[in-house]
């Protein structure tokens, strides 16, 4: 018998649509599970029980009237707390923003998931203003890794990764500027989709770095990623960057296999400065895909450095007034980087943006010869909570800035990526990035689904009961 507290989104939607279970029953089960278990993980900052149950009752009533329900019927979901949720201040992980007036309406992507009959149950912890790879929040406490509570969830979408791995909801939304979906997906053992830059609307979300910000889903199955992604696509006047493209569904083809796809492993930059097991995870998946080819993503170190500079400058500009007036209310780890970014000379940033043009063309050339590139998501498994440094290739480096060394050069030019979880042993997981050409999310999802079907990647619920 299906446990709807930990079932997949697809299972729940199928059961609710067919009347095998009511949306109210599913929602109640999920809310009870959050209340019982999240004190140990600390993934939720807000639970909107009343709203969720009212929405569930409305869905059950609609079905009783004979109305067809949407593709995410009765699926509970939660969002990183930088998404506007009507009635809540959009705190974006900060102390300062929680003094804002409550949002008047939901973010675009929440509205789209609810239009597909999903049910919002709450908002999730995150690193302050999304400038984070650890999942540690000074004001709300860290999200702990559900698979080992003494370890980091990864960030900045740490609550998103924690909620999925703890089995609190089957679907969450996160944001990814430099790796903030892919890093927690890797450390918590989840599937995460960072779509093409400009694919999903950022309308109604608190920004970080406008020229790098992406939103996307995280889940425990590839099918659930595809279902959610499909429900959220489409233009939106509320986001000046979102592309004027029609919906390109991925769920219908996600199970169509990998026939004809050309797969390569990223070498060079992506094959050093990490634990050997991070590269072994990539090789394992490459072997299963019949891949023997290695490609060099050119100048990836400069791409990462450019993303680092643009992030510091744009983030600082966004927060300059708050830094002037409320500097003491920031997390110092965020504030100190922002102030350094604020005083940085303009040519540092403009040069990085010009390099981006060159790098985009160089990487797109690679996709003439391959369809998918594999690379590690993080250089190591989840560090311990509070850990400040780690050693990569014999060099001691700050954890906070370096967990994203393999994700930053990819999001820098907006390529779509599915992060898939690999479990080398009984310990914590690692993640691998499945990277595709712009607008080819469908290809990355097909490869991820093939690996999932072969049993090589999976996202189990952590044992917290």
């Amino acid at each position: 018998m299906t446990d709807f507290g930990t079932a997949s989104a697809a299972e729940i939607a199928s059961a609710v649509s067919a009347g095998r279970v009511g949306a109210h029953a599913v929602t109640s089960t999920v809310l009870e599970r959050i209340a019982r278990l999240d004190g140990r993980v600390n993934s939720f900052t807000d639970v909107v029980s009343e709203r969720a149950l009212a929405r569930a009752d409305a869905l059950d009533a609609a079905r009783a009237r004979g109305e067809a329900l949407g593709p995410l019927a009765g699926v509970p979901f939660a969002v990183k707390n930088l998404f506007d949720v009507a009635g809540l201040p959009t705190r974006a992980g900060s102390k300062i923003n929680r003094e804002r007036a409550p949002a008047e309406r939901d973010a675009t992507l929440i509205a789209r998931l609810e239009a597909a009959d999903a049910i919002l149950v709450g908002a999730l912890n995150m690193g302050e203003y999304a400038y984070d790879f650890t999942g540690e929040n000074l004001h709300d406490g860290p999200t702990r890794n559900p698979h080992d509570l003494g370890h980091m969830s990864g960030g900045s979408s740490g609550g998103s990764g924690g909620a999925i791995a703890a089995g609190l909801v089957p679907l969450v939304l996160g944001s990814d500027t430099n790796g903030s979906i892919r890093v927690p997906s890797a450390l918590c053992g989840c599937f995460g989709l960072k779509p093409t830059y400009g694919r999903l609307s950022r309308g109604g979300t608190f920004p970080f770095v406008g020229s790098l910000d992406h939103l996307g889903p995280m889940a425990r199955s590839v099918e659930d990623l595809a279902l959610a992604f499909d429900a959220m696509q489409g233009p939106d006047p509320a986001d000046p960057v979102v592309a004027d493209r029609g919906i390109e569904p991925t769920a219908p083809t996600v199970d169509s296999g990998i026939g004809g796809l050309r797969v390569a492993v990223a070498g060079g930059y992506f094959a050093r400065s990490g634990d050997p097991e991070a590269f072994e995870a990539v090789r394992t998946l490459a072997s299963a895909l019949g891949c023997e080819r290695t490609v060099d993503i050119p100048e990836a170190a400069r791409a990462r450095a450019s993303a680092y500079l643009i992030t510091a400058a744009e983030g600082a500009t966004l927060h300059l007034d708050r830094l002037r007036e409320r500097g003491g209310d920031f997390d110092p780890a965020v504030r100190d980087r922002l102030i350094a970014g604020a005083v940085m000379p303009a040519p540092f940033v403009e040069r990085a943006q010009r390099f981006r043009r060159w790098y985009r063309a160089a990487v797109l050339d690679l996709f003439r010869e391959v369809d998918v590139i594999l690379a590690p998501a993080t250089p190591c498994r989840a560090p311990r909570l509070g850990q400040k440094t780690f050693v990569l290739d014999g060099v001691e480096l700050p954890v906070r800035a370096n967990l994203g060394i393999f994700t930053q050069p990819i999001s820098f030019i907006g390529l779509p990526v599915v992060a898939v979880p690999v479990w080398p042993d009984d310990g914590l997981p690692l993640g691998v990035q499945i990277i595709a050409a712009p607008w080819r999310e469908e290809v990355a999802l097909r490869v991820a689904r093939h690996l999932e079907r072969e049993g090589l990647v999976r996202a189990p619920v952590a044992k917290l009961d």
Binding site: L309, L323, P332, I339, V343, F348, R351, G414
Partner: protein, 65 residues
């Protein structure tokens, strides 16, 4: 005869000048961490700046993939 000089970069002095320019005030104990971050940004900029770009390489602040 005048000789060309390039002063050594002094991040502490640069920070203080930048704070004045931007009308930003900091607590004295924030400065060491900000300076450390400034040095990281300087190194990143040196890496990026070391790559020769054609004049036609137009900045891509809002990026369409």
């Amino acid at each position: 005869m005048p000789t060309e000089t390039r002063p050594e970069f002094d991040p502490e002095a640069y920070l203080q000048a930048g704070l004045g320019l931007l009308d930003l005030t900091i607590e004295p104990n924030w400065a060491p961490a900000i300076v450390a971050n400034l040095k990281v940004l300087q190194a990143a900029a040196a890496l990026v700046g070391g790559f020769a770009l054609p004049d036609e390489a137009e900045a891509a602040p809002v990026y369409e993939a």
